[in-house]
Symmetry: C2
Subunit: 670 residues, 2 copies
C-alpha cells in the first residue's frame, strides 16, 4: 500500500522540496491524456480554449485579484462585486466578448454577485413571459444592462408555497393600472438577490386580484424599483438589505427585502405572454397551467453541471493536498506516508472525483434533453413537460445534496489545514449551501419526485416513454438480477441493479400507500428514483464516449466507481428487497477497494483535466505545483493582524489583565 | 397529522401574531415539568441556579453584547474577545466568582476566545506535568492569569503523528540549558490557539536530544514567548497569526505560528514530573509510557457533554422556529401547516433533541468514570488507563461527528431563513467544526478504537472488566436476539441489539484480519463499538433517573428514540449479520414514527429545559416568545449596508454600468 507512488530520489530532503517532488512524481506517473479528457469535460476543444482565454484575461486583471477579499467587510465585498461587474462589461467591449462569454466571466469571479440574478432569473423570466410590446420597450435595456433587475418571489413568512404569498396586484379598470401592495411585515419580499442595494427594476410575483375581488393566484409583474436619476427607491417602496448570511456565504450579494404601499403600475407591465387581463379587467387564461414553469426547470437543469464543477473543485484541492501531505507511519523510503495512500482517505476522495465527472457529463446531457422540451413548448406541445419536471426535480435534489456534502467531506479529509480559510473549500461550501433549499427545497422536490414516480407506476403498462421512468420499463417482465462476484465488474449489471432497486421501492410504496409510510419514506423513494435515472443516463453516456481506448477505459472506471459507491449507499434497500445478499455486499466493498488502485495512479491527471488555474481555485492547499507550505506562508503574511508586531488589544486589555494577575500572584505568595 | 397542535382561536390573524400564539399554545400543551428536567440537565438545582446567575450578570453587561459582532472585521472580533476576557476577570473580582465560575463565564461568551486555551490546555498540562519547583515559581502566575499561555504542539507539516515533529530541544550540559530550534519553515509551530497575538508563555512539544545526539522523542517544555514589558516576541522567536479560518469560524482566536532560532531555556523548564534530564544530560524515564495522555483524555471527555449542549442549541432553535413557521397545505383551521407537523421535519429534528439529552447525560457519566481513573493514576495505578483511552476515543469521535451534522441538519431544516446569519446556527457550526479533526482526528481515533476492540476480543474470556468492551461480555454465550414487533418498544432489547451488532462486527473483523478489510471497514467497526458503549451507558443512565413518573417516562422515550434512530442507521450491519430481517426493519421505522407523536407534544418543553436565554442563543429564529419575523426585522435594521439609502457603489460602479447599457440600448434601436 505504501509503495503505490514510490519516491524517485532518496531522502533526506526538506518537507517543502518533498511536496513539489511528490506532485511531479504523481503527475508523471499517470498515463491518461489530460488534454483530451479536458476537452470532453468542457464540451469540445474550442469550448475549452474559449474558456481558458477568458480566464487568462481575468486573472491578469487587478479587478479580479482575490488576495484581500478574506479581510474585507461585507460592505467592501459588495462594493468589490460591483467594481468587478463594471470591469467585466468594460472587458466585454474591449475584448469583444459575446453575451455568453460575458456571463461566463460573471460566473468566473468565483462568488455570487448581484449581476448573477439579472443573468439567471430576471432576464430569462422577462423574455420568456413578457408580452411583445413590453419586450420591445424594455428588452434592449435589459439585454445591455441599461437597467438591472431582480426576481421578487419569496416573502418574509412565505416560501415555496407560492399560492400563499400575501403581496397583491389589484387591477383598477378606471386607470388600467395594477395596485401593488404588501399589507403586512410578513408580506415583505425577502431574500431577493440584488434587490438590497443594486437593482433598478424587478419581476414580481403577486396574487392577481380582479374587479369583484376574485383572487387569481400568483402572477408576474414588471416594475421599476429605483430612480434612474439618483438610485433612490421610488415612492411607496421600502427597500433594504436582509443582512449577512450564515458562514459568511453570499457576502457579495445584496439579498434584500421590499415592501410596497399601494404602488401603481400600468396594465401592460403584467408579464402577459401566457396569462393576461383585458382593459376591462377580464382574466385571460394561459393555454397550459404549467407553461411558466420552464424558467425554474432551466435553472435546475443548469444546477446539475454546476454542482459537478463544484465537486471538481473539491476533488482537485483535496487530492492535490493529500498527495503532498505526509503523515503517519514511514513508507518504503522512510518518509511519513502520503495521506492519499490511506484507504480511508481514498474512500472519501475518489468517489468525489467520480461524482464530479458524472454530474458534469450528466448536466450536459440534461440540457440536450431540455432543449428538446423547449422546442416542443415553443410549438405548444407540453407532452414532455411533466417528464422534464420530474427529471430536473430528482436530479437537482440529488446533485445539490452531493455537492455540499462532497465539499465538506473533502475539506475535512484535509485535516487541520482544511479549516484554514486559505484552503479555499470552506468558502465554496458557504457559497453553495443555499442550493439545497433554493429553487425548490430538496425535501419539497422529493415529494414531487415521489408523486411523479407513483403516477408513472400506475400507467407503467401504457407505453409511457418518459425518461424519468425508464427504470420501470427496463425491469418489466424481467427476472430479478442475481449478483455474482463478476457482476460488480460489469457496468451494465450495476445500472440494472439500481433500476431494479428503484422499481422495487416504488412498487412497495405504491402497494402500501401513504397511510403506512414512515417519516423518511419520501426521501428513500426519491433517492432511489433519482439514482436509477442517473444510472440509466450513465449507460448512454458511457457508450457514447468519444475517446481513445486508455481514456475510455479510465472514464468507464470512474463511472463504475460512481455506480459502486451509489450501490453501497443503497444497501439497506437492496438487502430489504432481496436484491443483494450479505455475501454479495462484501464482494461489493471489495470491488470498490480494487477500483481505487487504477484510479489513484491517475488521480492527479484526472483533476488536472478539470483545467482549473491557481487563480480559479484560490486555495493554498490546491496549488498546481504542490508547494502548499510556502503557499500557506505567503498567505499568512497578508493577514491584517500580522501588520503590527504588538496588538492594539495589549495596551487596552491584555496589560491590565496581566497586571491584575501579577498583583494577585505576589499577594498569594506573601 | 395536521391536528396535533390545534389552534385555539379562529383565523384570520396576522402572521406575526400567529407566531406568538403558536408558541404559547405549544408551550401550554406540554405536560412535563420543565424545572425538574432542567435540574437534571445541569446536574442539580444548585448548579442550574449558579449557571443562571452568571448568565444574568453577563447578558446585562455591554461587554458581552452580541449585536455588532457579525459586522466586525476579524481584528475587531479579536480585540472584542480580549475586552470580554478582561471584563470577565473584573466581574470575577466584583461578583466573587470562583475559578470554576470564571471558566464557565469564559465559555458563555459563545465563541472561542484566546483564554480558552489557557483554561483548557496550558494550565492543566502545566499543573499535571511540571516539577514542583517549576510549579512553585509559575503556578500562582498561571492561576491568576499574571501570564497567559498556549500549548504549542502541531507544526506546519506535522499533525497528529507527534514523533515526527521537527522542533528540537537539545540539552547543553555546559550551561544546563535546552536549545529550542525549528530548523525549517515546515517545523514552525502552527494552529496554536492564543499564540498569534496574546500568549506570553507556552508549553512546547519538542523532540528531546541528549548529548551524543540521541533522540528521545517528544517532550514538553515551558518557555516565555513575549516580553512582559512591552509584549514583543523575545529574541530568536518569530510569531504571527495564521490567518482567518473557514466559514469565519474561530474569528476571535489568534491561532498562531512560531519559529525558534536557537532559543535557550533553563533545564528546570522541562516539564519533568514524569520524564526528566539530569544536570549531566542523562535521561530519566517516566514510570508509565502513557502517563502524560491524561490531559488529552480529559479534554475529550469534556467534549462529550459540550457536544450535547451544541445539539441542544440546534434542537432548541430549529424546533422553536418549526413550531411557528407555517408553510404548505392548509391545516384543520385553514392556515398553512406548521412546519414541525411534517413527518420529514420530525425525522430530522426530534433525533437531534434526543441526542442532545443522551450526550449531555453521557458526558456527565463519563466524567465520573474518568474521576476514578484519575484517582487511580495519582497512586500509580494505570490499570484503567487503556480502557479510558478507548472509551474517550470512541465517544469523542461519535459525539463530535453527530454535533456538527446535527447543527447543519437543523439549520437546513429551517429552509431559507436558516441561511441567514441571524438564524445563529451557521455561526455555531463554523465554530464547532475543528472538533472533528482537533484533539485527535476522528479517522485516527477510529483506528485506535478498532485496535482496542480487537485486543478486547482476543482476551474476551479472561475476565476483562473494561467499560469499553462490556458488549462482548453481554453477548458471550447468549442466544442471538429475535426482534419481534414488541421488541422495538423495549429499551433493553434495543440496547442488547446494538451490543450484539458490535460484537458481530468486531468478531467478523477479527476473523478476517487486516488483509481482507475494505476502505471503510475501520469506520464501520469504530461506529458499531462506540454505539454499543453508548447503549450500555444509557441502560445505566435510564435506570438511575431521579425523576417523577411523567418526566421519567418522557426521558425514557427520548433515550429510546436515540436507540431506535441509531439502530435504523445500523441496518446494513444488522441485516448483514442476520440480526434484523427486512420485515423487522419496517417495524423499526414504524416504531420511530409512532414515538414522534408523544415527543412532539412535549418538544417545546423539552427544549425549554435546556435553559437557554435569548442572549445565549443569539438567534432571531430561536427566540423564546416565537416572534421570529419581528426579531429578523429588528436585526436587519442594524446591517451596515442599510445605514445609507444609496450605496457608495452607485456613483463609482453602478451608474457607469447603467449609462453604458442605456447608450447601447438607444443605439440598438436606431
Amino acid at each position: 500500500m505504501d509503495a503505490w507512488l514510490p519516491t524517485i530520489m532518496p531522502a533526506p530532503r526538506s518537507a517543502v522540496e518533498q511536496t513539489k517532488l511528490d506532485m511531479t512524481v504523481a503527475r508523471r506517473r499517470g498515463s491518461v491524456d489530460v488534454g483530451s479528457l479536458r476537452s470532453l469535460m468542457y464540451g469540445g476543444r474550442d469550448a475549452w480554449e474559449a474558456h481558458a482565454r477568458i480566464v487568462r484575461v481575468m486573472q491578469a486583471d487587478p479587478a479580479f485579484n482575490k488576495s484581500r477579499r478574506l479581510y474585507m467587510t461585507r460592505t467592501e465585498r459588495y462594493e468589490r462585486a460591483l467594481a468587478m461587474t463594471r470591469r467585466i462589461y468594460e472587458l466585454k467591449d474591449q475584448e469583444g466578448w459575446s453575451d455568453e462569454e460575458t456571463k461566463l466571466a460573471t460566473r468566473l469571479v468565483d462568488e455570487n454577485i448581484p449581476m448573477t440574478l439579472h443573468d439567471l432569473a430576471f432576464e430569462p423570466v422577462f423574455f420568456a413571459q413578457a408580452s411583445p410590446s413590453l419586450i420591445s420597450r424594455y428588452g434592449p435595456l435589459i439585454q445591455h444592462r441599461g437597467i438591472l433587475g431582480c426576481y421578487l418571489q419569496t416573502e418574509l413568512a412565505h416560501g415555496t408555497n407560492v399560492p400563499a404569498l400575501e403581496t397583491t396586484a389589484t387591477y383598477i379598470p378606471e386607470t388600467q393600472e395594477f395596485d401593488i401592495h404588501s399589507p403586512t411585515l410578513t408580506s415583505s419580499k425577502w431574500w431577493i438577490g440584488a434587490l438590497g442595494k443594486t437593482a433598478t427594476h424587478g419581476v414580481l410575483q403577486a396574487r392577481l386580484i380582479l374587479p369583484g375581488g376574485k383572487d387569481h393566484g400568483p402572477h408576474l409583474f414588471f416594475l421599476q424599483l429605483r430612480s434612474l436619476e439618483d438610485h433612490k427607491p421610488l415612492p411607496g417602496i421600502s427597500i433594504g438589505d436582509i443582512g449577512p448570511k450564515a458562514m459568511a456565504g453570499y457576502a457579495s450579494t445584496d439579498n434584500g427585502y421590499a415592501r410596497f404601499e399601494h404602488v401603481r403600475i400600468p396594465r401592460d407591465n403584467m408579464l402577459s405572454k401566457f396569462a393576461g387581463v383585458t382593459p376591462e379587467g377580464e382574466y385571460i387564461k394561459p393555454p397550459h397551467a404549467k407553461m411558466s414553469y420552464g424558467g425554474m426547470m432551466y435553472i435546475r437543469a443548469h444546477f446539475i453541471s454546476s454542482c459537478g464543477w463544484v465537486m471538481a473543485k473539491a476533488a482537485t484541492v483535496s487530492i492535490r493536498y493529500s498527495t503532498v501531505r505526509r503523515q503517519g507511519n514511514p513508507d518504503a523510503v522512510g518518509l511519513e506516508q502520503q495521506v492519499v495512500s490511506y484507504p480511508s482517505v481514498q474512500h472519501r476522495l475518489l468517489p468525489i472525483l467520480a461524482r464530479a465527472y458524472v454530474f458534469i457529463l450528466l448536466g450536459r446531457r440534461l440540457l440536450t434533453i431540455f432543449a428538446d422540451t423547449t422546442t416542443r413548448l415553443a410549438s405548444g406541445d407540453t407532452s414532455t413537460l411533466a417528464d422534464m419536471h420530474a427529471l430536473t426535480s430528482a436530479l437537482k435534489s440529488l446533485a445539490t445534496r452531493h455537492a455540499v456534502r462532497d465539499l465538506e467531506d473533502a475539506r475535512r479529509a484535509m485535516g487541520g489545514h482544511g479549516y484554514s480559510a486559505y484552503a479555499g473549500l470552506g468558502r465554496v461550501y458557504a457559497e453553495q449551501l443555499p442550493l439545497v433549499s433554493a429553487e425548490g427545497d430538496n425535501y419539497v422536490l422529493d415529494k414531487q419526485v415521489v408523486r411523479a414516480a407513483l403516477k408513472a407506476f400506475e400507467r407503467r403498462d401504457n407505453g409511457d416513454r418518459s425518461v424519468s421512468a425508464e427504470y420501470l420499463r427496463v425491469v418489466a417482465g424481467a427476472k430479478t438480477p442475481q449478483m455474482t462476484p463478476a457482476s460488480w465488474e460489469s457496468f451494465e449489471a450495476l445500472v440494472l441493479l439500481l433500476q431494479w432497486r428503484a422499481a422495487k421501492v416504488v412498487e412497495d410504496r405504491a402497494k402500501r400507500g401513504d397511510l403506512d409510510k414512515d417519516a423518511s419514506a419520501d426521501q428513500r423513494v426519491a433517492t432511489a428514483v433519482a439514482e436509477a435515472i442517473v444510472a440509466a443516463q450513465l449507460g448512454a453516456i458511457g457508450s457514447a464516449l468519444q475517446l481513445k481506448p486508455r481514456e475510455r477505459e479510465i472514464m468507464r472506471d470512474l463511472l463504475r466507481l460512481y455506480l459502486l459507491i451509489t450501490t453501497e449507499a443503497a444497501l439497506v434497500d437492496l438487502m430489504s428487497f432481496g436484491l443483494v445478499s450479505a455475501a454479495a455486499a462484501r464482494e461489493l466493498r471489495t470491488a470498490i477497494a480494487k477500483l481505487f488502485q487504477p484510479l489513484l495512479v491517475e488521480a492527479i491527471g484526472l483533476t488536472d483535466a478539470f483545467g482549473f488555474t491557481d487563480w480559479e481555485l484560490d486555495s493554498a492547499l490546491g496549488v498546481y505545483d504542490g508547494n502548499v507550505y510556502e503557499a500557506l506562508w505567503q498567505k499568512v503574511q497578508t493577514e491584517p493582524l500580522n501588520q503590527t508586531e504588538v496588538t492594539q488589544a495589549y495596551k487596552e486589555h491584555i496589560r491590565p489583565l496581566l497586571e491584575r494577575g501579577r498583583g494577585l500572584a505576589v499577594r498569594s505568595k506573601l
